[in-house]
Symmetry: C2
Subunit: 220 residues, 2 copies
């Protein structure tokens, strides 16, 4: 076996293929990606893809798994920390995801797409994120807040909103950028601003109950 005698510089062929596959799959999706595209992107022979990974699909599954893990990775600690408040958890989560999405803007669309193609396949491949039967700290904290403040709104809405506000700008980025004419740098600046704004907005939503919606301070 070789085990990479080159001090560093060029990664192994296997790693080069994975990197190329990551780029091409993420940008074009599974169906539109040709194994030849990946080989070309990696600057390597076509047959190496089948030599290192048995098939296009096997390679894809590896990339997909990596991407899913980026979503799930390291948030368990966040949402299950008894030392932080609910508000701090929301801020930390949103900050974490925005940082991750700025680094990997193509990720959400890629994942959502493949889930859409076959929703059950994801569960089968990634496995249900089963966290046993112990309730998460964040869930308990929400329950306590909802009880204390008599919050009537369906919490699904709040969850949906936090996710929507955080992720959608990245999904719609090409459209948004195209229509508004803002460039990547401006876009990223906006995303950084949202780290503080989204928790504030979400907090405001929890505050706002339909019965209170006609308060005198309303702008419109």
């Amino acid at each position: 076996m070789n085990e990479q005698t080159d001090i560093e510089k060029n990664a192994s062929a296997e790693e080069k293929i994975k990197e190329a596959a990551r780029r091409v799959f993420t940008q074009k999706g599974y169906a539109a990606t040709r194994t030849r595209d990946i080989a070309e992107e990696a600057g390597l022979n076509l047959a190496l893809i089948n030599y290192y990974f048995r098939s296009k699909e096997k390679l894809f599954d590896i990339i997909m798994l990596e991407h899913i893990q980026l979503f799930v990775h390291s948030i368990m600690g966040l949402v299950n920390d008894p030392e932080t408040t609910l508000r701090q958890k929301i801020e930390a989560l949103i900050c974490h995801y925005i940082d991750m999405l700025v680094q990997n803007p193509g990720l959400p669309l890629f994942v959502i797409n493949e889930i859409n193609k076959d929703p059950k396949k994801l569960v089968a491949k990634v496995g249900v994120t089963d966290m046993g039967n112990s309730e998460l700290v964040i869930a308990r904290q929400w329950r306590e807040l909802a009880a204390a403040k008599k919050i009537t709104i369906n919490p699904i809405h709040i969850l949906m909103n936090a996710v929507s506000l955080t992720i959608f700008p990245f999904v719609g980025s090409p459209l948004i950028r195209n229509r508004t004419g803002i460039d990547l740098e401006e876009f990223n600046t906006l995303m950084q601003e949202r780290k503080k704004l989204i928790p504030m907005w979400v907090s405001g939503m929890i505050n706002l109950s339909p019965s209170l919606s006609k308060g005198e301070g309303e702008v419109m």
Copy 2:
């Protein structure tokens, strides 16, 4: 020429193909769709696709154009109506889009995807939605509100938020439904609720400026 002698019942082959193509393209995307899939879905001979539409791509372009028009259609009247207030416009727009999305839940992902594949292609095919140089009524109304209420937040955020809150739940529906276990009926009920909730939340956001964010009424 025939011109559809059948009183009604079965549509023309051409229309059947378009309907089938709409379904298959929307669900699987361009690359994953085989012309044979469309023929089978339509229950017609494969060659008819190339007989009526010159190629797979031409057929796709037609479907794409229809979908884009669904997005743009009939909103010009809404946003340019001098008789309605800004708040009423937002309510009407969100209501309009939620109704449309309940009918066509696969639309946003399809459109966003194809824009991503090639952002400039969309502009080329659909044509820039050029509304001349006259300012829209909704733009003027926003400008007036912003000036009157000394709103400092970048309006792009507000626009992004309204779009995110309205569209993302449909894009993420398979994921959301999968994780929360709610069925289609429940989901649609939630979307109906959002017709009233989103304008309220958006209004709340405009109200909330960062300097005011630590008001004493905060829930968290």
